[in-house]
Symmetry: C2
Amino acid sequence: MLAAMAEPLSGADIFLAAFDHAPVRDLAPGEVLIAAGAPAAQVFNILGGMLIVSRTGRDGRRQVLSFLFRDNFLGFAATDHYSFTVEAVTAARVACCARADFDRRLERAAGAERTFRQMTFRVLEDMVDMIYSLGQRTALERLAVFLLYLRHAHRLAEGIAEDHAPGADDVALPMTREDIADFLGLQKETVSRSFAELEKRSLISRVDNHCVRIRALGPLRELAGVVDFAAPHRLGGG
Amino acid sequence: MLAAMAEPLSGADIFLAAFDHAPVRDLAPGEVLIAAGAPAAQVFNILGGMLIVSRTGRDGRRQVLSFLFRDNFLGFAATDHYSFTVEAVTAARVACCARADFDRRLERAAGAERTFRQMTFRVLEDMVDMIYSLGQRTALERLAVFLLYLRHAHRLAEGIAEDHAPGADDVALPMTREDIADFLGLQKETVSRSFAELEKRSLISRVDNHCVRIRALGPLRELAGVVDFAAPHRLGGG
DNA sequence: CGAAAGGTTGACCAAGATCAAAGTGAGTGG
DNA sequence: CCACTCACTTTGATCTTGGTCAACCTTTCG
């Protein structure tokens, strides 16, 4: 299943057009946009806010698959039913498009398939990164990767190109510690302790409960390992 | 990046045709087919044998991403360089096709893009399963999932449709314990101990070091959790 | 037959989970 | 507007799973 398309790519305008005069839906924090098991009838484009994609097992264990931001597409499913849940973290606004409409556009617009394929591959790559994190990295490393990922996602959503834009090092964390824990394959207490440890090492400072400032980007990247979301990825055309 | 296409799908013949008169390459166990960082010039179709896809971090930690079998496609990359390594586990044979040729076919053949998209989504789904495993499941559960995954992969590669075909419960394990460990995000000792535990619980018996017999399929599936590779996935047209 | 690689087992250790309690803060009703 | 409440977070104590280190098997292959 394809929960969400990663960053827009030059050429993504083809798909943005699909949402041009599409109906818009506003979501309150916590509101469910997609419930796992529902018929996969629509695809969406996020106009603003933050959403969370998750999959919950029969016994209640939940794995958060990704956080979504402005200009992310979502709702693509391999089957005719969604296998994942999408909820709003903050107040959010999405444009809604019938899946069939989107598919039609995909088949007709020149180069659309190719662009879509590129976008899908990008998602695949992000998932491989996540698999590497969950399989190989420690709690502290995962949290470092996560903060860099949020920083990057925010810059993309805001269309900021420079690595050191003013305020770029303030990372907003509107989700709960438990959301972060379920994303990183940890417990919420461990997430708390890892934040404390990053602060102790002067890599970050905590502005407040839902905002963190990166104080040492280089060392944080070093801790996170190879993955640098800024370096390899080209910025999209907004 | 798209290391490998999962199971063939009805319609995959379009792509199999791309390999019809393609040059064939034989691989000895351990031989490298794709080295991470090499230019992504070719795509492959596996004619026989087992391959292993992995990604290794700067510090040597290795995450195995998947095992590949007959009729799996591989070599699709998001960029112009491979970001993963593919090696033969057993002696193997692959058909090689220039990436450009494949892309051309993709754009010309009717319905090819659509079929390819479905296949890609299938891979996405498998990766979500893997993320769920690594993030939420215990060592024992992961090993149970792994055995069911191998059982399923083998049945697909052999074109066996029934769930209880004779010999279907003998699972071949040609890879090393370390390969399994790196796939499951564990250490090889833990894999050993988990095999012992599954045997102690009478869920499996060890035929020899590289073959295991599933003695209690139902309970093993129960232990693995929701994921049943047999149930939701349609079998491909061979 | 012997060396080397791979696999198992045991003893011990540590990262992270679990359990418990106290602190913080945002939203609500008085 | 304030105080209360409830949800979220942090911190501490303890426990468990899985990791690490080391020794000993077993298999394969030269």
